[in-house]
Symmetry: C2
Subunit: 336 residues, 2 copies
């Protein structure tokens, strides 16, 4: 995500088309930003926070009266990731006391830019702290096998990513690292985005069905699991992409360390535990249909019988007791 | 699966095309049966056992000298399901002492027919025993929610099925039952076959991504899990479709009863525990590509970047400690 040259909009990678096509889109209004977040042209907790901040700026740029409704519209796009609300609050705090519309536009732009810069710096530090964990494993293993679920890479996080930041840091430091990429049904962010990212960066990786991770852990083929987060409650319970809980259970059962990598903007101290985190339920057609690359280009196919309904919860909550430690920009340790 | 009118072959449902098209195929040679098993035109532990038995019969019918190589060919098609080997041994035992080629053909046909009849009767009894478990839940719940993984229904088992036999029995007995159908990546036997079966039978069901089951259990939306098995070791460790282990972990963590339904032909007393069960690794393109129903009929699409490799283990082992009880034709209880 980057600003257009005249800062009249933002340009984003429309991630719905990856890995098959690299498509970008320019968003010039808060409504366009809201659509892009809701329909997951952009996704990933840190990225949607930053995009939403720019959405407020685009509203402020248009008219002072647009700011409040735009913020409400943007806040309602996706319920689980707290970064979205956090970013909106951050921008609001910066413009609250400004005296003119012009000042509000300038201050909101500055706030959005700061969110991006801060997330970048947090990602870099998450990479550094996670690198130490991988380096430790590398002292006894010739190749370090990391399993990750969904996409918490640079596509989700502006740059480096959260869960993948330590992997990139290790790869760049010359440590042999290999990533098991959960395909991450139903939207296949792992197969489509994480595999694409890692491939572009030259990191060895293997895509697996979400079902396979437990078996690989039983077989000793996973040294550590690193996932991202969409919201972490005050007690450390962690909402992340649906299926994360199953991998945490398997890691616990097999004695594999399970890490959650996140910028501190993903922590929601107002929520005591995971039960209170709202879980987004998305369109069941995301389960019933799938888009892939066929002989005629991108094609949508149906997987289930015509009359069979589906349910599509987008996140689950991993209890803190299953998490070995959190990797934040501040270091490796517990949340509380 | 059924015999052709003159018993010169068997007719099968080519399950690769379900739920989109209902295609049957006639197999007249052991080589054709082997191909159908290996490439999963027929699948499911009990069904491939019965099909393999007919394969030996088709060899015996052709020539006495063909029996031995055909049995070897059929045994090598798929490594994990023990029913295959069990059925071949059963037929072999019946023809070992026969004096003529003609007698061998007749005896092997009788043996194959007996396997089918026995599996039918076992399925019926599994249904009865499982029905009692569902009836028990129905005393305190208005609808009984069953989660199942993969397909252990009549498509896998000639009739009734194993894991679904109790569901059909409950539905037919007027007990309100609803099934959460794991789509079961990478071959989608749940989304394609179990959903199709249940729909044909009028059983309410909802397809979910394999990732969603743990979340549903956390939310109290699953009353019991029933899965099938491909091989059960002497200590009760159970090989079943990849991902079963993850659901067993979640059921254990959430206090949801986890049952394995199987005919006793799936028990392998020669194997002490799950570590010794051979796990089939299938073509990675089953992960990288997917077939669904698109605007131009059945279409194959690619899900991952061109250069990304995949790994495709087809089964995992659920430790006996995570299994509440086994449902066999003999009743509900431990294996040992």
């Amino acid at each position: 995500m980057w600003e257009t040259a005249d800062a009249s909009g933002i340009e984003i990678i429309d991630q719905r088309h990856l890995p098959h096509r690299f498509v970008t889109a320019v968003l010039r209004t808060p409504e366009e930003v809201a659509t892009a977040i809701r329909e997951m042209w952009v996704r990933g907790a840190p990225l949607i926070g930053a995009a939403a901040a720019y959405g407020v700026y685009l509203a402020a740029r248009r008219s002072e009266a647009d700011i409040e409704p735009a913020a409400r519209l943007l806040a309602a796009t996706r319920p689980t990731a707290v970064n979205l609300r956090w970013a909106l609050d951050f921008v609001q705090g910066r413009i609250d006391k400004s005296r003119s519309g012009e000042e509000r536009a300038l201050l909101s732009l500055a706030a959005a830019r700061q969110i991006v810069a801060d997330e970048l710096e947090r990602s870099r530090r998450i990479g550094e702290h996670g690198l130490a964990l991988i380096r430790e494993v590398a002292r006894r293993k010739s190749v370090v096998n990391v399993l990750t679920h969904c996409n918490a890479g640079w596509l989700a996080c502006i740059d480096y990513g959260t869960a993948t930041a330590p992997v990139y840091a290790a790869h760049d430091a010359g440590i042999p690292v290999h990533v098991w990429v959960d395909e991450t049904r139903p939207r296949n962010q792992g197969a489509a985005l994480t595999a694409f990212e890692l491939g572009e960066h030259g990191v060895p990786h293997t895509v697996i069905a979400d079902n396979a991770g437990g078996h690989l852990m039983q077989q000793g083929q996973v040294d550590l699991v690193i996932v991202g987060a969409d919201r972490v409650a005050a007690n450390g319970d962690t909402a992340n992409k649906i299926g994360t809980y199953l991998k945490a259970l398997a890691a616990h059962d097999c004695g594999v360390p399970f890490y959650v990598a996140l910028p501190s903007s993903t922590i929601d101290p107002s929520i005591p535990d995971g039960q209170a985190i709202p879980i987004e339920v998305r369109d069941p057609d995301e389960v019933r249909f799938l888009e892939g690359f066929g002989s005629a280009g991108l094609q949508r196919v149906r997987l289930v019988p015509v009359g069979s309904p589906a349910l599509n919860p987008a996140f689950d909550v991993t209890p803190a007791r299953l998490i070995t430690a959190f990797i934040t920009e501040k270091g490796v340790g517990p949340i509380t």
